[in-house]
């Protein structure tokens, strides 16, 4: 085959990417613009300032911290529940496996607003409203079904001979699970953790309903929401906060792009 020059394709791809990322650029642009010039809509921060970031750092750090704790706890909770059950579903031929799989598909399709309404009523009775633990538990429901489906379908692809061999050597199920299956599932675990983290970090529905009165112990999405609800919207600090809240996404995408793509194509991804 003859090799043709492809630079023009790269050029088109670059232009498309820039169009796609324009909203993100605009967010950064506004976040670096002085208050009085924000409405003039310049294509680059002509009236440059870092004051918006100062303001954002001053007020939003507790929210960012809360989000980080919530998202990390969510990852741990998701893995604690998903890993053993994926082993049962993927390798131990659990009876009722098909019905459980179907339940997981349904679970993924249930609208968050329905879950939030149910949780609200239950939390109201248990006194879990406006607590960080209540939020972590609720946020974990976004990722658990996905994590189980991803991990169990990976474990199904592992050769059974590995487990058989270990058992002949006298290893218990628990040993097989912790010493063989979990280490081998490393990649899928990274993917599941990544999505669990991002979804908990992005959550608006549960935060705005179950944790709306939590003061500083609220996630960053609520910090941003406060700006929007305010009478006099401060777009500069708002956009600076939005940029700060996007950092985890950017970092994870840079260090773990292949895991992200793997997660999406697992065919069971939610939006």
């Amino acid at each position: 085959m003859k090799r043709r020059s492809t630079w023009w394709k790269t050029l088109i791809a670059l232009v498309l990417t820039l169009i796609m990322l324009f909203p993100m650029y605009w967010m950064i642009n506004i976040s670096l613009t002085k208050r009085q010039s924000i409405r003039s809509g310049d294509l680059f921060p002509k009236d440059f300032t870092l004051e918006n970031y100062q303001a954002a750092f001053g007020t939003e750090l507790p929210y960012l911290g809360t989000s980080l704790i919530v998202a990390l706890c969510c990852v741990i909770l998701t893995l604690v529940i998903a890993l053993p059950s994926s082993y049962a579903l993927g390798m131990l031929n659990l009876r009722g496996r098909k019905s459980l799989n179907f339940a997981l598909i349904v679970a993924q399709m249930i609208p968050a607003v329905v879950m939030a309404l149910g949780f609200y009523q239950i939390y109201n009775q248990l006194g879990l409203l406006d607590s960080i633990w209540g939020l972590i538990l609720a946020d974990s429901t976004i990722a658990v079904p996905f994590a189980v489906m991803l991990l169990s379908s990976f474990m199904r692809s592992l050769p059974m001979s590995l487990v058989e061999a270990a058992k002949i050597d006298g290893a218990s199920q628990w040993t097989v699970f912790t010493r063989i299956v979990v280490p081998l599932s490393r990649n899928s675990i990274v993917t599941a953790s990544l999505f669990s983290f991002l979804w908990a970090w992005s959550d608006f529905m549960f935060a705005s309903t179950l944790n709306s009165g939590g003061g500083n112990v609220r996630p960053i999405t609520m910090g941003i929401y406060d700006f929007i609800g305010a009478q006099n919207q401060e777009w500069g600090p708002l956009m600076a906060t939005a940029v700060l809240a996007s950092i985890p996404t950017a970092v994870l995408l840079i260090v773990a792009q292949k895991y992200v793509s793997a997660g999406i194509t697992a065919g069971a991804v939610k939006d």
Binding site: T6, W7, K9, T10, I12, A13, L16, T17, M20, L21, P23, M24, W26, I30, I38, R39, G41, P84, S85, N93, L94, R95, L100, F102, I105, V106, A107, M109, I110, P111, A112, V113, M115, A116, L117, G118, Y120, Q121, I122, Q125, S140, T141, V144, Q173, W201, F204, S208, T221, I224, Y225, I228, L238, S246, T249, L253, Q257, S261, I264, T265, D271
Partner: protein, 319 residues
């Protein structure tokens, strides 16, 4: 070894000492399976089944702010369903929801497929740019929603500035009749990466020899797309559109952040959210009505889960 095989063989193998061992092991495996699965089963019961039952039960009881606290809401049977389903607002909202969902997924899919075909080619920076394309999908929707809200601001948004360059009047994007189109545009943008990634991986599963043979026969790339790519992508297309439908149906955050569901941008999900938590224009809390709309959404989700399962089976059979 599967459990069904083991059950029949247990009976036959009784008395044969050398087969006793596998029997024991199988039994233990089943118990272990239940043990390993129990956290998930307990979790699903507490965190999925309980809220769902709660939601459905609320749709049959007439809840008010007071009875929500005291918990003695009177049983109303199907009355609230009748009220909601006979209100004109329900049907208007349903229509808007369908427009929102269908227009969104058609464009997400179309643009995603065009991009996937484009990125299938070899050129420099391909992998990197495809990765960057994921950003809109990974950024918290509330952040992109905020940005879109500002970009669509009537007075100083970049959208109207752009239209102004062509002498067009500013559009009140986020209000009344335009609101639905504003959230659709943002939502299409949001969903393109998801479609791109799935369809791109679908394209990679198509045998390259087919294209080579077709181009030897003189087929243009346009013909190759319609005769090879598109038909062979059908199973992936079906799954993508199904998932797109369900996930778009339950969207609340991007709409809520941009318009609070005002005007034509109210969908079933945002309507239920507004009524359940007394947010936005719905200043009074209507738990029961919200649960009714929620139950309608659950039913739609169930139907689609069945279709999804059917599509998945079909894809496996086709392979």
């Amino acid at each position: 070894m599967t459990t069904t095989i083991s059950e029949t063989s247990i009976g036959e193998a009784r008395g044969l000492s050398n087969k006793k061992n596998p029997k024991k092991r199988i039994k233990r495996t089943t118990w272990a399976a239940i043990g390993f699965a129990s956290p998930l089963i307990v979790y699903l019961l507490i965190f999925y089944v309980a809220p769902l039952i709660q939601n459905i039960s609320m749709s049959f009881h007439r809840f008010s702010r007071r009875t929500f606290v005291t918990g003695d809401a009177p049983f109303a049977g199907l009355d609230i369903y009748k009220e909601v389903l006979s209100s004109p607002e329900f049907w208007t909202t349903l229509k808007q929801t369908l427009i929102f969902v269908i227009v969104s997924i058609v464009f997400q899919y179309g643009l995603g497929l065009a991009l996937a075909v484009f990125f299938k080619q070899n050129f420099r920076l391909n992998g990197f740019l495809r990765g960057v394309f994921l950003v809109p999908w990974l950024i918290p929707p509330m952040i992109s929603g905020t940005t879109w809200q500002w970009m669509m601001d009537a007075d100083s948004g970049v959208f109207n500035k752009f239209l102004g360059m062509f002498g067009m009047d500013p559009v009140w994007w986020l209000q009344a009749d335009h609101a639905l189109w504003a959230v659709i545009i943002a939502n299409i943008w949001l969903g393109i990466p998801f479609n791109l990634v799935i369809l791109y991986s679908g394209l990679q599963n198509i045998n390259g020899d087919l294209y080579e043979a077709a181009s030897l026969d003189g087929a243009s790339s346009w013909q190759q797309f319609w005769k090879i790519t598109f038909p062979l992508l059908k199973p992936v297309t079906l799954i993508t559109l199904l998932l797109g439908f369900v996930y778009t149906l339950k969207t609340v955050d991007i709409i809520w952040i941009m318009t609070m569901g005002v005007g034509t941008s109210q969908t079933l999900a945002t309507w239920s959210y507004a009524m359940a938590f007394g947010k936005g224009y719905s200043s009074t809390i209507k738990y029961s009505e919200a649960s009714v709309v929620g139950t309608v959404l659950i039913v739609i989700a169930l139907i689609f889960a069945f279709i999804y399962l059917w599509a998945q089976r079909k894809e496996e059979e086709d392979l």
